[in-house]
Symmetry: D2
Subunit: 238 residues, 4 copies
C-alpha cells in the first residue's frame, strides 16, 4: 500500500460513515417505513447516472494528452468498455419488480443526479485527467459501505436475486476493478497536483452521490404523500 492511497481510502471510509449517518435515505431505510417504490426510485436514478459512467470514462481517454501514459489510456478504454450497458441491468431490475410502465422518454434524472453527472463529465475532460481515478476508487468499492442499507431493503421487500442483478453483478466485478484502480493510482499519481486532483474528485463525487441518495428519499416522500406527478407511474408496483 502506498501512503497517499492509504490515507485517501481512510478519508473515504470516514466520509461514507458521516454521509450515511446524516443521510435522509439511510434514516428512511432504517426506519423501515418505506415500500417498493423507494427501491424503484433508486433503480431509476442508478440507470440515469450509470448510463453516463462508461461515456465519461471513455471521454478521459479521448482527451488524454498525446504523451500521456499509454497504460492509463488503455485502462480508461478497457473500463469504459466493461461498464458499457450496465445501466440496462438497473432497468431490468426495475421491470422485474412487478407491473410497471416506464414512461417514454424515461423521466429526467433528479436534480442531484444531474449535478453528479455534470460533475463527472467536467472532470473527465478538463484539468488533470488522472482525477477521475478518485471517483473510481470509491465507486468500485462502494458495496461494502452500502451493504447494511441494501440488506435492510432486501429483507424488508423480500427482493429476489433477479431483482438485484445490478447490485449483484457490481459487487462481483468490483473485486477486480478496485485492484486495477489502486494499481493505476500508484502508477500515475506522481505529483502533488495529481494527488490533490484525485483526492478532490474522490471526496466531491462521493458528497454528490450522498446528495443523490437524499434526493431519492425526498422524492419518495413526495410520492408517498401523493405529490409526485413525475414518479406516480411507480404506484402500480404497490
Amino acid at each position: 500500500m502506498n501512503p497517499f492511497l492509504e490515507s485517501l481510502e481512510s478519508e473515504i471510509a470516514l466520509k461514507w460513515k458521516d454521509l450515511l449517518k446524516k443521510s435522509e435515505l439511510s434514516t428512511l431505510v432504517m426506519s423501515g417505513e418505506f415500500d417498493i417504490r423507494l427501491y424503484g426510485l433508486y433503480l431509476l436514478e442508478t440507470y440515469q447516472y450509470t448510463l453516463h459512467n462508461s461515456r465519461n470514462q471513455a471521454l478521459v481517454g479521448a482527451k488524454l494528452d498525446p504523451l500521456a501514459d499509454i497504460q492509463y489510456l488503455k485502462f480508461c478504454l478497457k473500463h469504459a468498455y466493461e461498464e458499457a450497458g450496465h445501466e440496462l441491468m438497473a432497468l431490468h431490475d426495475l421491470k422485474a419488480l412487478g407491473s410497471v410502465t416506464i414512461p417514454t422518454p424515461i423521466p429526467q434524472p433528479m436534480p442531484a443526479t444531474e449535478v453528479l453527472i455534470a460533475y463527472l463529465y467536467r472532470i473527465s475532460e478538463t484539468g488533470n485527467l488522472k482525477a477521475r481515478l478518485g471517483y473510481s476508487l470509491w465507486a468500485e468499492d462502494a458495496y461494502v459501505h452500502i451493504a447494511p442499507l441494501l440488506g435492510a431493503v432486501q429483507k424488508k421487500l423480500s427482493l429476489k436475486p433477479s431483482q438485484m442483478t445490478f447490485l449483484g453483478e457490481h459487487s462481483n466485478i468490483d473485486a477486480d476493478h478496485i485492484k486495477d484502480v489502486r494499481d493505476m493510482i500508484k502508477r500515475v499519481a506522481k505529483t502533488d497536483d495529481d494527488r490533490d486532483a484525485i483526492r478532490r474528485v474522490s471526496l466531491t463525487s462521493l458528497e454528490l452521490t450522498g446528495s443523490m441518495l437524499d434526493n431519492m428519499a425526498s422524492e419518495y416522500r413526495l410520492l408517498e404523500n401523493g405529490k409526485s406527478l413525475k414518479y406516480e407511474f411507480l404506484n402500480t408496483l404497490l
Copy 2:
C-alpha cells in the same frame, strides 16, 4: 408578463427565501460574528465562478444548432462579451481590502464552487440549450435577494465602494440584463420541453449557489479555528 415567467420567478423568490433561511452563511453574517476574511472568501469564490460565466455563455452560442433562433445566438454572444473580465473586479476588490498576497496559482475553487461551474458548463453544451436562460433569470436579478446580507456585511466591515466594485457594477447592469433575459425567455420558451429545461436549470443552479455560499461559511469556520492551510493567506487582512 407571461404566465410561465411569472410562475418561475415566484418559485425563484421562494427558493431564495428558503435558501437564505437555512443558509450557514446567512446565519454567520446575521450573528455578526465574522471578520473581513469572510468577505475575502466570498470575493475569491466569486472570482472563480464568474470567470467561467462568460465562457459557458459563449459555449451556448458555439453549440447552438444551425437553425437556432438567430436572436438567441446574438443574445448569448452579446452577454458573453459583456460579462468578460468581470471576475477581475472581484479580484480587485479583494486586493483593495488591505494587505494580502494572493498565492500563485490562485487556490482551487471550493468543492461547491467547482460543482456549480461543472453544472453550468454541462447545461451550456448538452441538451436543450435554451436552459441556461434559467440561470441568467435569477443570476441577473440576485442583488435584491442578497441585499440584506450584503448590507450587514458592508456595515459590519465598513466597506468602501472601492472595495465593492463587483457588487456595485452588477447591481447596475442587472437592470438592463434582466430585461433582456425575460424578453428572450418569452421569445424562445415555446414548448413544454423548453420550459421544463429552463425551470430545472434555474432551480438547480440556485440550489448549487446556495451550497457555494454555505461552503464559504464552513471554510470560514476552519480559518477562524486555525485549521485552514489553504486560506491562511487571508489572515494578513486582520
Copy 3:
C-alpha cells in the same frame, strides 16, 4: 507593422496568387463559360461555412485559459457577435437570384466545405488558441484577392447589389475587422509557438478554402452535365 505580420501577409498574398492560378473555379470564371447556377453554388457553400464562423470564433472564447489575455477573450466574443447571422445574407442573395426552391433541410455542405468547417472547429478548441487569428488575418481581407473573380462574375451575370449583399457587407466591415485582427496578433503573438500556430492555421485554412472553391467548380460541371441530383434545384434559375 511588425516583421512577423509583414512576412505572413506576404506569404498569404503569394498563396492567394498561386491558389487562384491553379484554381478550377478561377479557370471556369475566366473562361466565361458558366451561368447563374455557379454563383448559386457559391452562395450556398458560403452560407454553409459562414454559419459556423461565429460559432467557432465563440468557441475560442469558451475554451480560453482562465489566465488568458482578457483583451483577446473580448476580441473573440465581439467578433463572434458581429459575425452572427451573416450567413443569412448569403441565403438572402441566393433567393434574390430568381425563382428557386431551396430544399429542406438545406443540402449537406460539399466535402471540401465540411473539411474546412472541421478544421476551423478543431483549431478553435485545441492547441494554441491564438491560432485562429491566422484564419481571420486572411479571411477578413479576402475581398481584394477575389475582387477580379467577383467582378467577372458580376459582369457576366449582371448581378444587382441586392443579389450581392453578403459580399458587399463584408467588403465594408473588413476594413475595421482586419485592423482589429492585426492589432490583436501584434498583442498576443509573443512566442515562436504562437507565431508558428498562427502561420500554420493561416496557410492551411487558405489552402482548404481553395479546395472549397474547386469543389464548387467540380459540382458545377456535374450540374451542367445533368449529373447532379443534389443541386438540380438550382436549374430553375436558368
Copy 4:
C-alpha cells in the same frame, strides 16, 4: 453482403485506384528515386494520425446518445481500446531504421495530416455518429490497396520485418476488424441519413488520406533539395 455495403466498397476501391494513380507519393515510389527518408516521413506522419485514432474512436462512444445501440457503443470502446498505443509501433519502426534523433517535442504533423485529424474528430462528435464507421470501413482494409506501394518501398530499401511492425501488425489485425466493421454497418445503417453519413465520411476521409500521402511526397522533395529545416533530422539515416 448487403447492397449498401457492396456498393460503398466498390466506390472505395475505385477511389483508391484513382487516388493512387494521381498520387505524387505513388509516382515518387514507382520511379524508385527516393531513399529511406521517405519511409521515415511516412512513419512520422503515421505516428501522428494513428495517435488520434484511438482517441476519436473513444469520443464517438463518449458522445453516443443514451438510447444508442449498446452494441455500437461496445464496438466503439473495444476498437478504441485495441487501437490504443499502435502509434508507438510507427515510432519504433522509425527508430529501428538507423541512427536518428527524433526532436523533442516531435515535429507538428504536416498540414494535410492535421486536416485529416481535425476531420476525424469533427465527425466523431457531431452529427450522425454512425458516420465514423465509414472511415473504419476502408482504413481497416487499406493494406490490400497500398500493398504494391509498400512492396516497392520494402524492396528498394531492403526493410526488415522489425522495421515494419506497424504495417505488419495492422495487416494481421485487419482481417478481424474489417469483419466487425462490416457487421456493425449492417446492424446500424438503417436510414438514408445513416447511409449518406457513412458514405460521405468514407470517401472524404480517404480523399484526405490521399492528400496526406501527397504531402509526404512534397516534404520529401523539399528535404531532398536541402530546403526542409523541419525534417533535416532524418538526414542522419542516409
